[in-house]
Symmetry: C2
Subunit: 783 residues, 2 copies
């Protein structure tokens, strides 16, 4: 897959790339194509089709690449606009920035609150109905009702995903991560995706799937931020001239970072955890100002949720009364531990890490398998969803029958059984005064099941056999569920399996440890999270904020460190795996060691298409039509300069605006002034995904084809450049650190044309480099 394609919605796999391999024979388009060096051209062209696209098994679609380069302000036309900015406009800009952060926080907080309440009520209704039928011993009817509702909800979620927004399926975190890395996957932040993500997530979680709403919340936050950043809608006349300052990649990306942080904050009620998640996992570029702004956003989310909870404590939030926003409580446990406990905890972390990496491995395989089914059409997608829903229903209704009825504990402070509310003791088929421990885990929402597993001071509450069954069931159901066409977060399945594993370990170590089994469940969850997600600080803080007990910090840290280290020696984090499966050209922060032995020239590939400072309209149009390139070097030539000089870089989108404005002249002359009168800087502002001017929108007359247009006003006169002999590793670091989209490669020797190629994201992809140089062996060397 080529990362550098046109934005015109062309869905074919465009395998051309910008830049020329060697540049020794660079001509002016279209008359002279560069003749390529024979040694490399042939394998290069045949390899090309097989490089990045081969790993793009699922959803290999075209992704316009974003740039953090301030190109927009470097063009003449924008420089003028920038200079004319008055103080008041800067004030507007800053106010808007904070206003947007506020809105993102409010929106995401409300979405989180809504999602929680809806799940609580829908799932609550289902569970109440089932319980009532169970009371009347109408077991088969109960199963039918339970499975029927589950399948209905699941089918609805699947249908939304399959027909309205396929991009809403899955966690959404990998896509947000890719966006923040510069890859704008197709319609990943569209309004329809937002709608389906929220509704589908509510339906999916209510349907009893082993999925969470955390990943979807992150995606929701990002979608809300993106919609705000696009600045209203022209269709509904909701535009605002102030917004034009936000129509650039940098501000949009900042806002989406805020959205991702807000999502985690809303999902876990963990504001600091949200900021750290955005920093550690989501964002590829970070500035200190962003820390400050994400923090504000998550603070708003925290306040919104707090207001919501205050409202719900009055009992107005439906069946379960508290809106599902209670935190997991392992507080009040006295945390004292000895050396043996530490050894036990280390072991727990190590095994958790291994199980986590196996989880990743299996999820990978399952997604690849499901993708074959899903690609056959919406019908297949929905069938798969229904099949998994049926499997889940059978497990969660069938397995509790194998558990023995346990007598209610005498010293319990809560009533037992707790059938009509959230609580640890579900009676299921048991007589009064007894409860079914497996049903307490299965016949409830995932959040409640986790809460039950975390519950402290109740060591004997769950039998070892029940915990084994539950652990095995959720471990495999979690794996089977990810990849079907519903919005499905990965946090909750992992926490659920991890908590069951931890509590099980706690029961097994019961005789030798003083640690509470609820605490063991928490540590188990931490070990699984560390083993699958591979985050550290953010997970630690999220878990602490969830449980509200800072004294657990050293133990949680220890477990996370061990499990991440162990798991890292087997495979990559689950989000990185999904990124790879989806074929998104994610750019790693560090350069690979083999890049040290290559130079920039080695990976640049042709043909390179350049424009003259004042270019024939026909040439431009032909170049735009026949290539998918997004950036073209502009070269000043005699008679305007003494020798050919690199003037800068023009973007396809800006060229389209320029051509639409028809600022043509019959002669090759500078015509800046005329142009500025016809086109304003506002027209060049970045349009929303798929909203910009398309090539088909242009209406160039035949006689205009031979006219000239001055490209200087829209040329970014300060493109980042590297010398062709620059080490590829250093070029990669430059490209990644500055968030570039194009990088000009200039010749070392002065006898050559002023630019020998363009490096794009595609050229740094390992698949591309290994395609060119099959002899290079990537040796693993991670930090």
């Amino acid at each position: 897959m080529d990362g550098e394609n046109n934005v015109n919605g062309n869905d074919a796999l465009d395998i051309e790339n910008e830049g020329s391999f060697d540049g020794r024979d660079i001509g002016r388009y279209p008359s002279e194509f560069s003749e390529r060096n024979m040694t490399y051209t042939e394998p290069l062209l045949t390899k090309r089709t097989n490089t990045t696209s081969q790993i793009a098994i699922v959803g290999a679609n075209l992704c316009p690449i974003e740039s953090l380069d301030y190109e927009i302000f470097e063009n003449e036309i924008f420089k003028q606009d920038w200079r004319s900015r008055k103080r008041i406009q800067i004030f507007q800009y800053l106010t808007l920035k904070w206003g947007f952060a506020l809105l993102i926080g409010l929106g995401t907080g409300l979405a989180g609150f809504l999602s929680n309440i809806s799940v609580e009520n829908i799932a609550g209704f289902k569970l109440l109905l089932t319980t009532n039928l169970m009371y009347k011993h109408r077991y088969f009817e109960a199963f039918l009702a339970y499975a029927g509702i589950n399948i209905g909800l699941a089918a609805a979620a699947g249908a939304l995903c399959a027909f309205i927004a396929p991009a809403a399926a899955g966690s959404g975190i990998p896509e947000v991560k890719a966006y923040l890395n510069g890859v704008d996957a197709h319609s990943i932040l569209a309004p329809s995706t937002l709608f389906v993500k929220i509704c589908g997530s509510i339906l999916g979680v209510s349907a009893g799937f082993v999925v969470g709403k955390e990943g979807p919340m992150v995606h929701t936050g990002a979608c809300i931020a993106s919609l705000l950043g696009q600045g209203g809608s022209r269709k509904y006349h909701l535009t605002w001239s102030w917004l034009r300052y936000f129509k650039n990649d940098r501000d949009r990306r900042d806002m989406i970072t805020c959205g991702a942080a807000a999502g985690v904050a809303a999902a876990f009620r963990a504001p600091v955890g949200g900021v750290l998640f955005a920093l550690e996992e989501a964002a590829s570029w970070w500035r200190s100002a962003l820390l400050w702004r994400t923090f504000f956003t998550t603070a708003v989310v925290a306040i919104v949720l707090r207001v919501g909870i205050q409202y719900c404590t009055l009992g107005r939030c439906g069946l379960f009364g508290e809106g599902g926003l209670i935190m997991y409580d392992v507080g009040g446990v006295r945390v004292t531990y000895s050396v043996e406990d530490i050894v036990g905890v280390l072991l727990l972390g190590a095994i958790g890490g291994i199980l986590g990496s196996i989880y990743n491995y299996l999820v990978d395989k399952v997604i690849r398998m499901y993708s074959i089914i899903n690609e056959k059409g919406p019908g297949y997608k929905i069938t798969l969803v229904i099949a998994i829903a049926l499997l889940t229903s059978c497990c969660s209704f069938g397995l509790p029958w194998f558990a023995k009825c346990l007598p209610c504990p005498a010293d319990s402070t809560v009533s037992c059984p707790t059938d009509h509310k959230s609580g640890n003791y579900k009676s299921f088929q048991c007589p009064p005064g007894y409860y079914n421990d497996l049903a307490s885990l299965f016949q409830t929402t995932n959040d409640d099941a986790i809460r039950n597993l975390f519950s402290p001071r109740t060591t004997k509450e769950f039998n070892i056999s029940s915990l084994v069954v539950f652990f095995a069931a959720v471990y495999f159901l979690g794996i089977c569920t990810y990849g079907i066409a519903i919005p499905s977060g990965l946090f909750i399945p992992v926490i659920l399996a991890g908590a069951a594993y931890g509590r099980l370990a706690g029961r097994l170590f019961e005789s030798v440890t003083k640690l509470d089994t609820g605490l063991f469940a928490l540590l188990g969850a931490a070990s699984f999270l560390g083993g699958t997600m591979r985050m550290t600080v953010s997970l630690c803080v999220i878990l602490l904020e969830l449980t509200n007990d800072l004294l657990l910090l050293p133990l949680v840290m220890l477990v996370l460190l061990v499990s991440k280290s162990v798991a890292d020696s087997f495979n990559k984090g689950v989000y990185d795996q999904i990124l790879k499966i989806k074929g998104l050209p994610y750019l790693e922060a560090h350069a690979e060691p083999y890049m040290r032995n290559l130079i920039a020239r080695d990976v640049v590939s042709g043909p390179l298409i350049t424009f003259s400072g004042i270019e024939r309209v026909g040439n431009i149009l032909h170049a735009l039509r026949t290539t998918g390139h997004n950036g073209f070097p502009v070269i000043d030539e005699p008679p305007f300069t003494d020798a050919p000089e690199l003037c800068g870089l023009v973007l396809r989108s800006h060229l389209l605006v320029l051509l639409k404005g028809k600022n043509f002249s019959k002669e090759r002359v500078f015509i800046r002034r005329n142009m500025l009168q016809r086109i304003s800087a506002l027209d060049f502002a970045k349009a929303g995904s798929g909203k910009g001017i398309k090539l088909e929108d242009l209406d160039i007359l035949e006689e205009e084809m031979d006219m000239y247009v001055d490209l200087h006003p829209i040329t970014n006169a300060s493109p980042y450049t590297v010398v062709e002999t620059m080490s590829l590793a250093k070029a990669a670091i430059l490209f990644r650190q500055l968030g570039l989209r194009h990088m000009c490669v200039v010749p070392k020797s002065q006898t050559r044309p002023p630019v020998v190629g363009i490096l794009t994201r595609h050229d740094f992809m390992p698949e591309h480099i290994f395609g060119l140089y099959p002899d290079i062996k990537p040796h693993r060397w991670t930090e």
Copy 2:
């Protein structure tokens, strides 16, 4: 002050700079100096002396600048070395990396523990003695003992700072921040500084100064990391060949980042806060691998401290028994609030922000005043320290006399008075059954005073008048104390004043709010911290970890946001101010708006000195002797190439090693192979501060002066370059983001020499640019 000076300990203000202004007439050194453009040269040269040096009022010393550029691996010689690395070496490298993180954590944790216990015991002894004399009504003797001990301790601390390590005075956070930005201030991380920092901090805090041990702990952590990173000592034959992989700027800087995080973790027992502090305040460059490693380091610190506390609960840690490592406890307070409370909290934050920025303003003035005294010599320094110690003693012993004796509360769970241990009720001059509330704050350690102010559920404990007196006293004592020659942290004075302010506000709002006064004290402290330090997330987390109550999060966030925003509209954060006063050339993360209107060529200044690929030894030696430049472009010329080409960049330190190795030849030929046999890559590893080969160490014979040396093996063949017409803002971003030390400016036109100048840190300093272009008006535009 020139940021780019030689490393040879030359203490004069070297105002030369690398690079040439225009480069139109660049010659080969030493025969032809570039003739400079007349329009700019004259004002440039006269301006030069006045630029950065003018603000360097205090301690304007030379700072070698570090670089994150992987130059070391780009040289031929290192490339070979890199390729020959075996898997086992990579394993060694990784093991060592984690081993160092472990050692840094252990060292800093132990230092923190030691510091706490020592302060607790020394100050405890002093307070016990005073109390016993007060009991016997020997008030004057009590004052003499109290003031005498204080002055003695203060004089000792001052003498250590004045005679052994002047660099140990002050907080140390600005210096660490500068180091992590690439400025290695003189002996800031030397072993003597470490020793004085620890001892001086213990003495200073024990002497009753309004100073903290937090800043010094950060500095201590950084020193420990730096000493480890220098890899033992050749003097004591403690070298280890494995360590050579750490002898580069990047690994050393990573370790110092870990050290800074460990320092905060040790000072506040806040591991997550430490990581965030390193991220938000200390570090200028961040990589995700660093997050992971700092987290590990702070986890080790947390465990060390926990073991220490466990040990101390057995009563073996001296007078006060618990080693001063108790956290502030505001837990157990029910945090419910209404809209009026929120308004009150916002107001509290706003006023706190204003007071904080006034604090910064006054600290700035006081430091400038003190620096005039301190520069006169060690005697003056110590006298100043003694004067402030006397003032502090008078305040803390004299002011409590104005307070009325209050009856011990009847419902108190603790005994009253609490004279022989840490506690809220000091009797001072009061009869049994009564306590002096002002003495409870003054006649104790700063930590205990904060704990008393934070104490919940004791609204009436402190009178409003006492709080006013205490607030005024610590606010001004804190300002007077910073800048004297003792290690003095800023966190504790600010928290102390803020807590007094908050508790005062709590007493005043008593009738209208339901919030606890202890909580108000916490929020007051947060508002002051936000107003002076201007951190957000890290402060928030540190405060939460100090108080161990996550439910306070939304309020603390709110206060921090408000106070930082308010204070930011007046002046900069206190650490940035100190950096500026010290004249350290700190490079901001963002480019200033006026830089958009300049291009790289505009700020480059000459003369440029370049070397040929195979250069005369005499030329090199002369260049090294007559300039302070640290990097020299190497240019390949005919007959070796067709036209002059930029080959790369050599560093002064590498040239010195090369010259010392005497790999000379009589002819201008390539002699790579011979050289590699005589010098190993290990010799080029970065030496510790001031430990490298000096120019005087070279012993070049007269006949060798006319011989040639091949510079190619030590040339970094991939220097980062910018075209001369590149926007200065973009060049600055490139320079800062990649952590460069030198950046080559290449010509746009092909008819010019291959390099027209070098950009260094100095060239991006606002003072330099305003010196060149006095017409530019910097307009404030912060985010």
